[in-house]
């Protein structure tokens, strides 16, 4: 079984039980917060006067426990990390919003979810915090247009994880975070002893065992490592249905599951220039033309609107492709012929990017199809595999006529549609946000 379960990634009215699953998650969440004492604002506020460090202990124990299990499951290949929601990084709205939240925390004595645990157990201050929360979220909606550009762009890095920031394996980050957490637990207990006059000898001894188990698990995560791109590529599956028309009966519909290599071999991911062009005028999709050739070739000639990402730099844009574009984006990878585009396709597919296709025959085929009447373009008989097959009089980029074919002239084009739009999760709301 592959996790996460596709039908559970978002709630859907088509599967009412998905609401039940999320309600159960919330139930367990609220139950745990209440039983840890987070319904009482004094317990939360004490964190900031060093008398009782329950907040940091519960929070970091939860983080490190979940982290070890999560990256253990990812390392063992049970869980596809590209399908796990990772909060997108916006440095400046995150930092300022965080500072504001801190002020709200110490003034109000709660954070949003703990106020739910508090309000639901009859605490009047918890109810008022919740009520204030509705006002605060409303005020944000009303004032956001004043700084919408800053809010949506300042310090934006897309889906960015700490292992990418520091350039070290994810297992190493897990080990370091756990060492940091253990140090914080030790420090918290010392602070409780000094400021809270707490007798540490009454603390359960088993917590030391827990710390050792946690550290051992982190080391295991480190040694298991992350699945290689090749492992991930081999696990990718595509679903395609084919409909066989029947005489005097409903057509037979077959659903086939293909591997990525099957998709290439059966050429199900190769789209003709006509389909790539028509995608621009299809309301249901947002086409993104990814040109993986060298910058020199791109400057000579490229399709209008194509983004140049040379093949050796394509891994740099994966975090952005996973988080930023609208869910209905269709990525069309192209090189001069197909060799580089196929490599780019494999990398993107292995990284979990959805709706990736390859321009059949590459840019050369595009020129052959849309530029056949352009007398300034001369075929280059000496072109090798995946090289530009034409000689261009000047590096005009996308200013050749065939770079942006006339939609009226090419109103009717017939092609076998290969694009099957797969809608991934809606990213607008995000995690807690």
């Amino acid at each position: 079984m592959n996790f996460p379960i596709a039908s559970l990634i978002a709630v859907s009215a088509a599967h009412p039980w998905t609401y039940v699953v999320f309600a159960l998650v919330g139930f367990a969440f609220g139950f745990t917060l209440e039983m840890s004492g987070f319904g009482d604002s004094r317990k939360l506020a004490a964190q900031f006067y060093f008398t009782e460090m329950t907040v940091i202990k519960v929070m970091f124990t939860a983080i490190v426990t979940a982290m070890v299990l999560l990256f253990g499951a990812v390392g063992l290949g049970i869980l596809d990390f590209s399908q796990v929601w990772v909060n997108t990084t916006y440095i400046w709205s995150g930092v300022l919003g965080g500072l504001i939240m801190g002020v709200g925390f110490i003034v109000g004595g709660f954070c949003p979810t703990t106020s739910l645990a508090s309000a639901s157990t009859g605490k009047i201050d918890g109810m008022l915090f919740m009520l204030g929360g509705f006002v605060g979220a409303f005020l944000f909606g009303e004032t956001e247009p004043l700084f919408t550009n800053w809010y949506n762009n300042a310090g934006y890095y897309g889906r960015l994880t700490l292992d990418q920031v520091f350039g070290i394996p994810v297992g190493a980050v897990v080990v370091l975070v756990i060492l940091m957490a253990l140090f914080m637990f030790w420090g918290s207990e010392q602070l409780e002893r000094i400021f809270g006059k707490k007798d540490l000898s009454k603390e359960p001894k088993i917590r030391v065992v827990g710390a050792v188990v946690l550290f051992a698990a982190a080391l295991a995560v480190f040694f298991i490592g992350s699945p290689s791109l090749e492992d991930k590529y081999n696990k990718v599956k595509f679903t395609r249905t084919e409909s066989i028309p029947q005489l005097n009966a409903d057509p037979i519909v077959n659903t086939n599951i293909y591997t990525a290599d099957d998709m290439l071999a059966k050429r199900l991911v190769f789209i003709t220039p006509a389909e790539a062009f028509k995608a621009k005028y299809n309301q249901s999709m947002n086409p993104v033309y990814l040109d993986v050739r060298s910058e020199a070739d791109y400057n000579l000639y490229h399709i209008e609107g194509a983004v140049n990402v040379p093949l050796d730099r394509i891994n740099e844009i994966v975090p952005v492709l996973l988080s930023e574009p609208p869910a209905n984006s269709v990525f069309m990878v192209m090189s001069n012929d197909e060799t580089a585009a196929v490599q780019g396709w494999k990398l993107l597919v292995a990284s979990g990017v959805q709706n990736v296709y390859i321009l059949e025959g590459g840019v050369n085929n595009w020129v052959a199809f849309f530029g056949k009447d352009d007398k300034t373009l001369q075929p280059n008989p000496k072109a090798g595999d995946d090289q530009l097959g034409y000689i261009f009089p000047a590096a005009l980029g996308s200013r050749y006529e065939s770079c942006s074919p006339n939609p009226i002239e090419y109103e009717t084009l017939t092609f076998e549609a290969k694009i099957k739009l797969q809608l991934k999760r809606d990213k607008s709301g995000g995690g807690c946000g």
């Binding site: 969440f29 139950f31 202990k57 939240m101 709660f110 639901s120 944000f140 292992d163």
Partner: protein
């Protein structure tokens, strides 16, 4: 507050809170299971915003259509409740209630520092809620969605948000110490 009666609404004896490390471990397992099965973590502040959006949409749909922030949640025929965060929010309310009932902690009371009146506490709780959720929307998530969930998935931005939350609270703590000490 200790002078208040220890009898709860359901007249159960009040039980002690669990040990923080145990509570944290249980919470971590829940968070892991949520990420494993659904790919989503925990959260709640998004639900507050969505309920707001639904209210605005009910009162003035045209206002929603003129506000890009609300438009994303409730524009056109979009249902602002069509999101996983809503069932989590309602579930958390029920879960908190269940734990309170189970452990004998259901009672109407105000949790506050020893040297302020109930009224002051109520006002500050309300104000704190306003400030917190304003910040939570700006940072695109609160302690649950950013610090807890984003911290677990190693999101770089979430770790920054987490440090900012603690920085803001520790920085402000001295100035509002009368509320708590």
């Amino acid at each position: 507050m200790t002078t208040q009666t220890k009898k709860s609404i359901f007249n159960q004896p009040e039980k002690a809170y669990v040990h923080p490390y145990f509570g944290g471990m249980v919470l971590g397992i829940i968070l892991f299971l949520a990420l494993l099965f659904t790919g989503n973590g925990l959260g709640s502040s998004g639900a507050t915003a969505r309920i707001d959006a639904a209210l605005v949409d009910a009162v003035s749909p045209s206002h929603v259509d003129n506000n890009p922030y609300l438009l994303k949640m409730a524009g056109g025929d979009k249902n602002p409740f069509d999101d996983w965060i809503l069932p989590v929010f309602i579930g958390a309310l029920l879960g908190g209630f269940a734990s309170g009932a189970f452990n004998g902690r259901l009672k109407f009371m105000t949790t506050k520092g020893p040297n302020i009146s109930n009224r002051t506490r109520w006002l500050m709780a309300f104000l704190g809620g306003v400030i917190f959720l304003y910040g939570a929307r700006m940072a695109r998530g609160c302690t649950s969605g950013q610090a807890l969930t984003g911290g677990t998935t190693l999101s770089a931005g979430s770790w920054l948000v987490m440090f900012a939350i603690f920085g803001g609270a520790y920085g402000m703590a001295y100035f509002v110490r009368k509320l708590w000490l």
